[in-house]
Each structure stands twice: as structure tokens, then as C-alpha cells.
Symmetry: C2
Subunit: 479 residues, 2 copies
């Protein structure tokens, strides 16, 4: 086999494919057709080719181990692939790699009620995990739009966030155990059914958020939660950006149990209205520069206290001039309607080929950062519509630039990429993160140094060499 500069070979080499078919069976290896592109990339289409050498669809953990051993011996790079809903190209094959999809490893294996644990294979979707937990009267509280396609293994490899982080944390906090196949085929068992285990370094944590660069996650044990009795849902319009923080702090000081605090600016509402083809800006009488969707957990089904306390708090916030208008859902259907104003934003922007950034700043800096970002847009790319929404209770903002009608895609992307350094420099100035929840992948490698120091990046590379000395796992991703 011929090797590239890094000493790595291609997965479409005939002898390699033959050996792979021997290991997995003929129907588990794809080397041609549309499936190459289907399995070969995630939802981020950047300036890179989608060019896998082959696709492997193993059925057992033993097959994953065998194919890792083969790839290690043949020096064929592997791109681990989950539901491919990622937004940074981390699951994209660009130069003949073997894409390993775990979609056939999708079994829910065990539900341990005293331990409140669910064990499953990595290819189960996040929604399948949620459903299995719900069937046992429990909840898997990590929740995001792509949950129907996203696989639990991929969600751990990218430490997925979503709309419930403020209440239940990132995916990291829900991972009790991982079974991982290393580049040389060895299987590591990291954690599991133990709540406490202080016996040296917690290696499990390295694999969470490693974007497939350290090992293949094949089985997981998740820590479930008690589902709440119900929710109160409120949509508010705010008088000014700073009121986002004032209202948030007010809620945090109250005994109310906040389970979501999402914000979106006026322009987001206008795009949702346009996309829906309606002529009304939703249930709010008056829009503000910023809207907030608040969700609070109810204590139990008949709980009036939560609702009363929330009404009182909203009235105070209105008296103080923070809130312009507020609509409280009276039914579950209304709650879904209010949520839809937040959830429909991404789809409504999609037709405008938005240039997105997923950044985080300290929560207390959210309003100041939004103001500075708007100033920077106005100074550098005033011709591009700029919209902001996000999980503001986590300090996580999704910043979007839209393509104006009549501007070519090339021209638009050139201007966006020209603005990116300014935007990421601003993130750096605020000690923020260039990737709050989407990861680095291929898309943000150039900006990794804005959030992590040179010594940290050197340490990450050294850690990768420990687990993957040949560099065959997802090469070129993250760093």
C-alpha cells in the first residue's frame, strides 16, 4: 500500500477492502455509490472535499476491535461516525479514510433502577435513549433539535449541550461509564455503574468531547434523572439587552427551578414570521430588542406555588422596566407554541445560508458581548444582516450573519471569513470560548488557540500520542 506524508494509507486499497470484508462480511463494507457521501460527512459543508475511501458498518464490539487492529496494522485512518448531525466537520472524511458507522450497534442493553442508570450501545439515537428512560419513569435530560438522528456515542464524543444545560449540565455530567476501543483494538472500560471511584486519573473524561481523536466509543452507561411533574413556560419581550441579565439574576435569586432560559433578538422573530408566511409576530403585543423563553419546573402536578411565584416575579420585572410584555402558556399546546418561536429559528435562517458562530462568554458578560459584537458587525460588514440567539443562561450565543438577496455565495463567504478574525478576537478579549457546544472539528482549528494556550494544545497532542501513537483516529480534526 502507498502511504501519504503522514505515513497513512487509503481505505479504498483493494487488499485492505478484501481483508475488511473478511472481518465484517460483504454487506458491512461500502466502497462506492451515494452512500460514500452519505456516510462521509456531517452537517457542516466547508471548503473541504467529502472523500472517504470506504465505509464500515460493524455489528459487534468485537468487529470494531478487529477493524481497529486491521487499520492500525495497515495504517489506514479511521473517521468515527455517529448520526453525523455535527456542525464542524468532525465526522467528515476528506482523504480516503475508513468511515466507521456504529448505526448497527444500537441496542438499549440495561436499565438499572436503584442506580438510575441506562446502559446502551453507542449507535442508539439520543431520542431512543430518552424513550427508554421515559418507559421506566425516568428521563435522559440532554435535549437538542437533532436528537432523532444524533447517536449517543457521537453526542458524548462532542459533549453535546442543548436547551437543558442550565438545569442538568452538558452530556459530560451524565456519563457514568464508557467502553472505548482504542486505535490498536484494545477495549478500555472506564467507569460504569459506580457513582464514586477515586482511583487515579479519570480517563473517561478525556474521551468525552474528544471528537473521535482518542478512541471509538462503543458502549455507554448514562446517569438518568427524575422527570419533573410539569413545566411553566413564558415568552417575554425585554426592553433592552441588559434586561436579559437582570431578569436572569432575578430568577436565579428566586426559589424557582429554572430549566431553560433562551434568548433571541427581534430579527430572529422577523425571520420566523417570514418563514412561516404569516403576518403576525406571534403572541407578544410588543417585541423588544431581545426576547426570552423561560421554562420553570413544577414541583408536582397540582402545584400552584410555582405558578404564583413566577407571576409575582414577572410582575416585579415588569414594574422595574425589564419586561415589555409576557405570555404565559396555559396549556401544553400553548407551551409548545411558545417554544416553537425559539426552536424554529435555525430552520428559518437556513434558507439564507447563514454563517454561524457558536461562542460562549461568562454569563455576566452576555449583554456587553452582544453589544460589542453588533458594533463590530456595523463597523466591518454593515451590509450583512446579523442575528443573535442562544442559551443565554449558559453564556452561549449563536451569532449569525445572513446572505443578503442578490449577493453571490462566494462574495458572502469571503466577507464572513474576513469578519471571523474580528469576531473571534472579541471572544478572546472576553475570555470566551470559540466553540461553546459544537466542538472544533475541521471548521475551527485555526481559532483553537484563541481559547486554549499553546501549552494546553501541546499537552492535548501528547495525550493523543499515548492512545493513538500512529495518529490513525480522525487525523486532522481538533488540532
Amino acid at each position: 500500500m502507498s502511504a501519504d506524508q503522514a505515513g497513512l494509507c487509503r481505505a479504498d486499497d483493494e487488499r485492505f477492502v478484501a481483508r475488511l470484508r473478511d472481518l465484517l462480511g460483504v454487506d458491512a463494507v461500502i466502497v462506492e455509490g451515494e452512500d460514500l457521501v452519505y456516510y462521509g460527512s456531517d452537517r457542516c459543508k466547508g471548503g473541504w472535499p467529502v472523500a472517504p475511501g470506504a465505509i464500515a458498518l460493524p455489528r459487534t464490539v468485537e468487529q470494531v476491535q478487529a477493524l481497529a487492529r486491521l487499520c492500525s496494522e495497515a495504517r489506514v485512518p479511521i473517521v468515527p461516525s455517529g448520526g453525523r448531525t455535527g456542525l464542524t466537520g468532525a465526522a467528515t472524511a476528506t482523504k480516503g479514510e475508513l468511515v466507521v458507522s456504529l448505526e448497527r450497534l444500537d441496542q438499549i442493553l440495561e436499565l438499572d433502577e436503584p442506580g438510575r442508570l441506562l446502559r446502551c450501545q453507542a449507535g442508539a439515537t439520543v431520542e431512543a435513549v430518552q424513550d427508554a428512560a421515559a418507559a421506566a419513569g425516568l428521563a435522559y435530560p440532554v435535549d437538542f433539535a437533532a436528537k432523532g438522528s444524533a447517536q449517543i456515542g457521537g453526542s458524548i464524543a462532542t459533549n453535546a449541550g442543548g436547551v437543558k444545560v442550565i438545569r442538568h449540565g452538558l452530556t459530560r455530567e451524565r456519563v457514568a461509564g464508557l467502553e472505548v476501543v482504542l486505535a490498536d483494538g484494545e477495549r478500555l472500560s472506564l467507569g460504569g455503574a459506580l457513582v464514586k471511584n477515586n482511583t487515579g486519573y479519570d480517563l473517561r473524561q478525556l474521551f468525552i468531547g474528544s471528537e473521535g481523536t482518542l478512541g471509538l466509543i462503543v458502549e455507554v452507561t448514562l446517569s438518568l434523572t427524575q422527570p419533573p411533574a410539569g413545566h411553566e413556560v413564558v415568552l417575554c419581550s425585554l426592553a433592552r439587552d441588559e434586561a436579559v441579565l437582570e431578569l436572569f439574576t432575578r430568577l436565579r435569586r428566586s426559589p424557582l427551578r429554572l430549566s431553560a432560559f433562551e434568548c433571541f433578538d427581534r430579527a430572529c422573530v422577523e425571520r420566523v414570521v417570514a418563514h412561516r408566511g404569516v403576518d403576525q409576530a406571534g403572541p407578544l403585543d410588543e417585541l423588544g430588542p431581545m426576547q426570552v423563553l423561560i421554562e420553570v419546573e413544577r414541583g408536582d402536578a397540582g402545584d400552584e406555588q410555582t405558578s404564583d411565584a413566577l407571576m409575582e416575579l414577572l410582575a416585579e420585572a415588569q414594574d422595574q422596566g425589564e419586561i415589555l410584555d409576557a405570555v404565559v402558556a396555559q396549556t401544553q399546546a400553548q407551551a409548545r407554541e411558545l417554544w416553537a418561536w425559539r426552536e424554529d429559528i435555525s430552520e428559518s435562517l437556513h434558507v439564507h445560508t447563514p454563517h454561524k458562530a457558536d461562542v460562549a462568554v461568562p454569563v455576566r458578560e452576555v449583554a456587553r458581548f452582544m453589544a460589542r459584537w453588533r458594533e463590530a458587525v456595523a463597523a466591518s460588514v454593515p451590509e450583512l444582516p446579523a442575528l443573535c440567539f442562544g442559551h443565554v443562561g449558559d453564556g452561549n450565543l449563536h451569532l449569525n450573519l445572513l446572505r443578503p438577496e442578490g449577493m453571490s455565495l462566494d462574495e458572502f463567504l469571503t466577507r464572513c471569513h474576513g469578519f471571523d478574525p474580528t469576531m473571534y478576537a472579541l471572544v478572546r478579549e472576553f475570555s470566551g470560548s470559540v466553540s461553546a457546544e459544537h466542538g472544533i472539528g475541521l471548521l475551527k482549528r485555526a481559532y483553537l488557540g484563541h481559547t486554549r494556550s499553546a501549552r494546553e494544545i501541546d499537552s492535548m497532542r501528547a495525550i493523543k500520542r499515548i492512545f493513538d501513537p500512529q495518529g490513525i483516529l480522525n487525523p486532522g480534526k481538533v488540532f
Copy 2:
């Protein structure tokens, strides 16, 4: 300077001490007197000498960096020292190391209310952190008996557990950011005020629970919680060991918010009674083989629902024959009294020089494991009184063997150490942890392989070499 087999030198070398005094000032370096022993060990007195070469008491992070650079250059090993309340010898100097105490770095630096974050220096006690959080109407929910002496840096380096893990997790889950000084004096900033930051490997997690072998934690940012309005506290006696799990599962299925679920056997109660010198076995009319202390959070100050739901659940458990007797605290003073039956156990056992083990098994295995442990004691060391208590909701049991009257300490320890392999083999059989919350230190190195695989231990050693290539940070601890 002369070096030992590992190429390391002693901290009591005259030239080294002179240079250290130049860096820190004369009053910040101790080389003789009782303070050597005071600073040189933790609460675990094993079969090793307490023999530090010198003690350093830096006042600033810059001084910590300077002394690390000096030690790195002079190849003098460092033992990082917190409040020295550890129970495995991790903070003990045995061969002329420099003990670095951070007790002078004890400032609370900042409280960020919107982010619910507290930033402080590593030498602040856990209690000082709790107090500062409480002064802002918030809580630092990690809680354990030694909190008045234990320092926050040490509690992170050992990933402290305690009585609230079931509700708020281990210390790991509360660490938003760490400032760490590496062996060569470089300062790493890992996390901080960001809730979300998916930019490569989360190195912060490696330092949590690393027992001082990777770096010196000098500053921390902690994620605080909303304090509950109050608690319901119940002490129950159970009809049989298995009822511990039945009652636990019953509570987990209810909407009650459990904040503690602690168990202790009849022998523990008898020792507390004897230690207090009273003749009554507490408020329970009837003791069972196992007692359980339950704490549940109240929704708000006037909340009757929690209390009603708890009473109903206890009545059902009594009907089902799980509970023999139950006492519900009516006042805060009574709640403290009930808690004291659990909290006084360690002190009551202390006079019997107990041989302790801190182990964890999957929660669902707790009763089966206790039975097997008692059988093993009866078969191997029936002459030694055996007592069990623990954080049973976390699967964490503290197993104790006591010295019978008239048996010499040497004879007692010989029998205990003879039994340890049997006990730890049992832990291994249950896929348990040889150290649930106390860490490995010097005490449990021989048993690390019972919980972590050879590949994991090799990986840990390789990770240590990345951050501490000369091996000067807490050599000989963990592995």
C-alpha cells in the same frame, strides 16, 4: 546535591534551602522542629516514615511558580499539602521532599452572582467557601466532616465526596475552573467562568482527583447551588439488609428530592452509645440490623406536601415490612440529633484504632456485597468486630474492623492486612472501586490494579510524564 535512585534530591540540602529562602523569605521556610511532622503528613498513619526535608509556605501564586522552577532545576520532589485531612497518606512526605503548604493562599476572590460562581485561592477551607457562598444566599454543597480543616485545593485534588453526593455529585461536578502550577512553574488556566467550552480535551478533569501528582492547584472557580428552603430528616431502623435497597428504590421512584441516604449497622449504634456513655440506644424503639438516615429537601419554608408525601412513603414501607421503626425530626435541633447518630460513628470508632476500607460497588449490589463481606469476615477473622456504614445511595460503604480488647496493635494490624486481599478481591468480583472517595495515596497502591486495568495505569503514567517529566510532583503516590 546528591540524588537518590530516581535522580531526585533532598529539600534539606543547605544550598537549596538558602535559595528557597531567597525566593519566599526566611519566615516562609521551615527546616526543623515539630512543624516538620505537623506539615509533613495527613491523617493516615501507615507503616511509612514522616520525613519531609523542608516546608514551604508561599504567599502568592508567583512564589509557587518560582519554587516549582527551583525544585525542577534542583530536582527536589514536592509534596503538595492542603488541610492534611486525607486518609491515604497522599499528603505525606517520606523521604526529604519539600512540603508546599498553601495555607497562606486562602483568599475568597470573587462571587459572580449571575454565573453563580465563587473564585478563591486553593488554601481557603471548604467551610470558608461554604460560608462565603451562604453570605451571598447561595450554597457550596460539598459537605464532609473535615470541612473546617480541609482546604478547597486539596478537596479538588482528591475529588472529595461526602454526605451530599446523592444530590449534588462529587467535587468534580462543582469545579468550573482551575489555575494550576505545573512542575516547571508554568501556570495553566483551565476553564473558569464559562459554562460551555467544547474546544478539545478537558484537561481540568485530569487534575481533579490526581492527588497532587500532576500540578499544584493554586486557584479555583466553583459552581454554587441554590440552597434548599429546608429539610425533612428521618432516622429508620430496617428489618433486614436488603430493605436498604428496597427503601432507596421506593424513595427514588417518588417525587421527593433526596439529599442524603446514609446507612449504619447495629454495631455502629452500639459503639456510639458506648462512646457517649449513655445507656439508651437513641430515639428508635427498636434497632434493626441496619439503620438509615434519610434527608429530603423541602420545596419552600411553608411546604407541607414534602412532609405529607414522606409520611405516606414511610407508612407504605412499614406496611411492606421494610421499616421496623422511624423517627421524624420535628425541629432543627431534632434533625441535628438524628444526624449525630450517623456523624458520631467515626469518632466513636477512633478509640478502637479501626482498620478502615472505603469501597464502592454498584448501588444495586450494596446489600449482596455487605452480606458477602460479613461472611468473609466470619470465615477469616471472626475475632475482629466488623462494622459497616456508608453513603449507601452512592454505593459507597465504609467497612471497619476493630481491635478487640487485649489484642496488641501489631497483632491486630497483621490480621487486618492479612484479610485485606480477601476483601479487595471481593470488591473486584463486584466490579467495585477499592477507593470510593478517599483516593489511593500511599495506602492503596497495591490494590489500584483491582479497579483499573494495566492499560489504564500505563496511560496514567504516560499522562504524568507529559506534565511532570522529571517526576518531582508527589512521587510514589497513586502508582
